[in-house]
């Protein structure tokens, strides 16, 4: 009994301490993170954090022996068999196809876009540790410290913020849904969306640099961007208001989607409607014609690519005939790889990985608006926009379809190659018969 009585005052003290620390914690959270998010101002804490991290990475890099990256290709990789100059079939012709084939086995342009980019130096995250072994005790200690900070401090903070942001979004947009349609409603809806997305941005510790904001998309236009992860939406929507396009999901996503559409008109499709291309095009063009509605946000690649390249744009959004506002998004992979490899992890797993990286650092460029020119069809227009985005973001411009992540390549490409080769041979035959 005596022992029990002894512990009581300490118990009380413990409770009081816990209570105080929680209060302090939440006040700090409110003052430093949520209030700035509401008003769109920044204390610069994240920039400071980023600079500190960069210094640490540089120090860590010096410590790691950079094995000379042997760039010797295993081939004589010079000179193509110029098919125009060859004339007749020769047995050595197979070397042309043979070399192309073996080169593509060694390294090809497409399959590496569907997995995370390899880093030159290590950024102290286990997940990006490909070939680096234990180098020194100090580095390992630093890594351990990093784990503690990221999982013990940053992750809980970010998860709290994420829940706050999403919760506020659902609640506030539902409330706004009760207001009559009009300018007040639109204004409030914009403010609410922006505020919640800003909280989400802080939940990911995303440090975003926006360039050329004078080119921001306007009402009645379509905003197209390269797609790396679902986070792209949060990044763009925290700087401007867009109408989202997408399929209605079940579960939490569905709840969010339904409440968002109460406040302002987003375009959500049922699963069955997605296949009907005419229906999709009609709804998009109806939305675009109404100048009071927000610009539509579309990712024409159709799937997530690993941010080293831009793959084929699907022509659907380019057929509608309104102004296209291209946006290039480039992530800095040193702080955390933002690419979502949907075959490797699901959404929740992915978000946890994002929230336990150091930060998400990216640059967003708003490119000048483009419209379809005379005599240009949708595919050419799409390629032109794609080239502009690739150039600005420093990404490789590829003609390959992002759908190759899951599907097989069409046979028509092989037939094209065969046709080219035949032309070379047949051309000769005709000459021979003439002479």
């Amino acid at each position: 009994m005596g022992l029990f009585l002894d512990f009581n005052p300490f118990d009380n003290l413990l409770c009081i301490l816990l209570g105080i620390s929680f209060t302090v914690w939440f006040t700090l959270l409110l003052v430093f993170i949520i209030v700035p998010a509401i008003f769109g101002v920044s204390f610069g804490i994240r920039q400071l954090y980023m600079k500190t991290l960069l210094k640490i990475f540089e120090w860590a890099t010096h410590r790691i022996e950079r094995g000379a990256k042997d760039n010797n290709h295993l081939f004589v990789s010079d000179g193509n068999r110029d098919l125009d100059h060859a004339s007749e079939f020769e047995m050595s012709d197979i070397f042309y196809f043979c070399r192309q084939g073996v080169e593509s086995i060694m390294d090809d342009e497409v399959t590496k876009r569907f997995s995370a980019e390899e880093l030159e130096s290590w950024n102290l995250l286990t997940r990006s540790n490909y070939n680096f072994q234990h180098i020194s005790l100090r580095l390992t200690v630093l890594w351990g410290l990093g784990v503690v900070i990221r999982y013990g401090f940053l992750l809980p903070l970010r998860v709290t913020l994420a829940f706050t942001g999403v919760g506020l979004l659902v609640v506030l947009t539902s409330i706004i849904g009760f207001l009559p349609n009009g300018r007040m409603k639109n204004f409030l809806s914009e403010q609410v969306h922006l505020m919640c997305y800003r909280i989400c941005v802080r939940a990911l510790t995303a440090i975003i640099t926006y360039h050329d904001s004078e080119n921001k998309p306007k009402n009645g236009g379509i905003c197209v961007a390269n797609h790396t992860s679902p986070i792209d939406v949060i990044i763009l929507a925290s700087d401007g208001c867009y109408a989202m396009v997408g399929q209605i999901h079940g579960g939490l996503m569905g709840v969010i989607q339904k409440s968002m559409v109460k406040a302002c008109p987003h375009i959500w499709f049922e699963r069955s409607e997605v296949k009907d291309r005419h229906l999709v095009a009609k709804r998009l063009s109806d939305h675009v014609e109404d100048k009071t509605k927000l610009p539509i946000l579309i990712f024409p690649e159709g799937t997530c690519i690993n941010n080293t390249s831009v793959m084929m744009f699907k022509k659907g959004s380019f057929e509608i005939g309104s102004t296209v506002y291209p946006v290039a998004i480039k992530y800095d992979p040193r702080f955390g790889d933002a690419f979502w490899n949907s075959s490797q992890f699901g959404m929740v797993n992915y978000l946890l990985r994002m929230m336990s990286s150091w930060a998400i650092v990216c640059s967003v460029w708003y490119l000048p608006p483009m419209t379809r020119e005379e005599g240009e069809d949708a595919v050419q227009f799409a390629n032109r926009v794609k080239a502009a985005i690739a150039r600005q973001g420093g990404l490789v411009d590829l003609l390959w379809d992002g759908g190759l992540k899951r599907g097989k390549v069409k046979d028509t490409f092989k037939e094209e190659q065969q046709k080219l080769y035949s032309k070379m041979l047949v051309g000769t035959q005709e000459d021979r018969s003439r002479s």
Partner: protein, 197 residues
């Protein structure tokens, strides 16, 4: 290195590999990293489907034959050793290797072995002869549907006529390597020919 934690056969790979295939350590690392990224099943071997997932290879007219070259007779899986062995054929010959010990076994990327690799792309039944049918098969793969049977047949006949020396209407390996344009394997490089050996 990652594969040192692998199976015992993979462990013994590293030492033998460096000596036998004569590729550098970092080249092995890169090839192994490529091997694992192609190995979607993560069982340490590649199947034909793994190769066909490479779009640039799938559209290559000779893609299937090239993939075949990786798989030993009758097998459906290739391990890393086999993968490297086939690729080692294509390493350019370094100058300092030309003066090597003549009693050592011929390296895989010698001119002869490169030619043998090409020969085996034609010679599907491995009877050491390229018959007219085998030549037609490869030609058909390269031209698709764009050339008629007669035209293709005459191209094949002409080729065999030029190369065949012992009159058996097929091309043996010795006749193959004497074919004029294979004395050195020329590659057009825009305005001049490069020797690929």
């Amino acid at each position: 290195m990652p594969w040192l934690n692998g199976t015992r056969s993979q462990q013994s790979l590293s030492l033998n590999t460096v000596c036998f295939f004569a590729v550098s350590h970092s080249q092995i690392t890169r090839l192994y990293s490529r091997f694992t990224s192609l190995d979607k099943g993560e069982n340490g071997t590649l199947s034909r489907e793994d190769f066909q997932r490479i779009p640039e290879l799938a559209i290559n007219p000779l893609g299937d034959r090239i993939i075949n070259a990786f798989f030993p007779e009758g097998e459906d899986q290739v391990n890393f050793r086999g993968f490297m062995r086939t690729l080692a054929h294509f390493r350019p010959i370094e100058d300092n290797e030309k003066n090597k010990d003549p009693t050592a076994s011929e390296p895989l990327n010698s001119r002869t072995n490169k030619l043998l690799f090409a020969f085996q792309l034609y010679d599907l039944d491995r009877d050491d002869k390229i018959s007219r049918d085998e030549l037609l098969q490869v030609l058909r793969m390269m031209v698709g549907v764009n050339i008629s049977d007669e035209q293709l047949g005459s191209i094949a006949d002409r080729t065999i006529q030029e190369a065949d020396q012992n009159g058996d209407n097929s091309i043996s390996f010795n006749e193959f390597i004497k074919v004029g344009n294979l004395q050195h394997i020329y590659v057009w490089a825009g305005d001049h020919y490069l020797i690929l050996t």
